[in-house]
Amino acid sequence: MTALPSQPLPDRAEPPTNPPTDPVILAEGLTKVFSSRARAGRLRRERVDFTAVDAIDLRVAPGELVGYIGPNGAGKSTTIKMLTGILTPSSGTLRVAGYDPQRDRVKLARRIGVVFGQRTTLWWDLPLRDSFTLLQRLYRIPPARFAENLAFYTEALDLGPFLDRPVRQLSLGQRMRGDITAALLHDPAVVYLDEPTIGLDVVSKHAVREFLRDLNLRTGTTILLTTHDVDDIERLCSRVVAIDHGRVTYDGSLEALRAERDLETVVRELYSRQGV
């Protein structure tokens, strides 16, 4: 059914020759097992374990822009939840920006920003501006810095026309721009974006990509991005980490991954490879 690879797929990239600086994200053997109870007979219920993330090793250096890709259900969102400290890993070690996400959750929260594409981090009934005010207090952003950042993002993401509208009245694209701003107002060192371009039109996608690239170059913010849009990866990410069934199937540069071929074909082949 799937086309045979015309070239052998590149496997894990060579480790970089010069030792990298301290990684800002460091995961070793990161694993998440979900257990649920399933029916087994009339009354009996049995515990069923499902390994959503299976011993992932990941090192991300400060300033990297990494595309974290994989088919539906691969374990991307689960990984991100563990990296933010909202989900406790079943095993493995994890450090983000020098913190243990579980133990130093509050300290870590001040250093990271998160966009969950499918749900908003904004307050539904509040005008966008009020959401930002609340974030200023939450992250204790100095007033001058807050004003500066808000002005910058309002301009860069064109928030002006809907800054005073309640979030529930915004279109998906407008809300996403608001969400991206919300994740960045406190100058986080690391930003996780879980499908930030989901549901955006071509123009908005382009604008968001340009914005993220500029952010990464200008401020050196580390970005971990999941997406199902091959163009996002192609335009943005210098490094790609692919997972499937909770395991890393590729970790290396975009160049090495596509090796002069059409990226969409490469990604399709990567996703359909079984049992790596």
Binding site: I86, V106, F116, Q118, L138
Partner: protein, 263 residues
């Protein structure tokens, strides 16, 4: 601290915007005030004074407690946390750099103040047009009453917060809320003032946390609380601290064990 004040202020502003639902709530609260008053008056016809309260006290109690239903959360409806757990939106709340319980207290306090402002006065005013009322004039009494309401609110919040947290395990707090609604309705004195219950039942019910929500504030306002204001505050605060502590422990457990729903 400022973050909680800002959260409460914004929550208040949000709830003040719900004018039409507040109007509907006022109408319902007032109508049920009449029903409850008729029932109480039937009881007071048998005996002119029950446990120090006369018929005017009973009418006052009826409309006063109707006025307190929304702000005090007498019906034990969970906080807005429950639905967020069910949908997985709680993921967002969980990674914020705030104390989770205080955050929800701030949001719920804003709601309580908002519904107090919109919904508390009308039932009492309308009730006063049709029934004898015995509201005291002493400002000291009113201050004591408000203090007891504050403590009662804390007790109510800590109960409702616990109910909401159940959703982390069961994915739906509504079953739990249905039970606590029934228990709370009876134990807080909505069916009958606790002081009008048979003495032995009264003395048991006076010990549950629900007694602190409306019965004790009302008794303090009428000046019939045994043990006075000091007892009322000590009783309520003890329950509030106990229940808030339980909420804290359960929050920690939820954080460690829990699974956030949705991709």
């Amino acid at each position: 601290m400022r973050v909680y004040l800002t959260a409460a202020r914004l929550s208040l502003r949000r709830h003040l915007a719900y004018r039409s639902s507040a109007a509907a709530g006022v109408a319902t609260n007032t109508v049920f005030g009449f029903i409850r008053t008729f029932v109480l008056l039937a009881l007071w016809r048998q005996k002119t004074v029950i446990n120090g309260w006369d018929a005017a006290d009973a009418c006052t109690y009826s409309f006063l407690t109707q006025a307190l239903i929304a702000p005090m959360g007498v019906f034990m409806t969970g906080t807005e946390l429950g639905p967020r757990i069910r949908t997985g939106d709680v993921a967002v709340d969980l990674y914020r750099p705030v104390d989770f319980q205080s955050w929800w207290l701030a949001l719920d306090a804003g709601r309580a103040v908002g519904s107090g402002m919109l919904r508390s006065l009308p039932p009492v005013l309308v009730g006063a047009l049709f029934f004898p009322m015995a509201l005291p004039l002493s400002p000291l009494r009113w201050a004591a009453f408000l203090l007891c309401c504050l403590v009662g609110y804390l007790v109510s919040f800590s109960l409702r917060y616990l109910i909401s947290l159940v959703a982390f395990w069961t994915m739906d707090e509504r079953g739990m809320a249905a039970i606590t609604f029934a228990v709370g309705f009876f134990c807080s004195g909505m069916i009958l003032p606790l002081t009008a219950m048979p003495p032995r039942l009264d003395s048991v019910l006076q010990l549950t946390p629900w007694a602190a929500v409306i019965q004790i504030p009302a008794s303090v306002l009428f000046g019939t609380q045994s043990g006075g204001l000091a007892y009322a505050l000590a009783f309520g605060l003890a329950w509030a601290l106990l229940l808030l502590g339980a909420g804290r422990l359960l929050t920690g457990a939820a954080r460690r064990k829990v699974v956030v729903q949705g991709g």
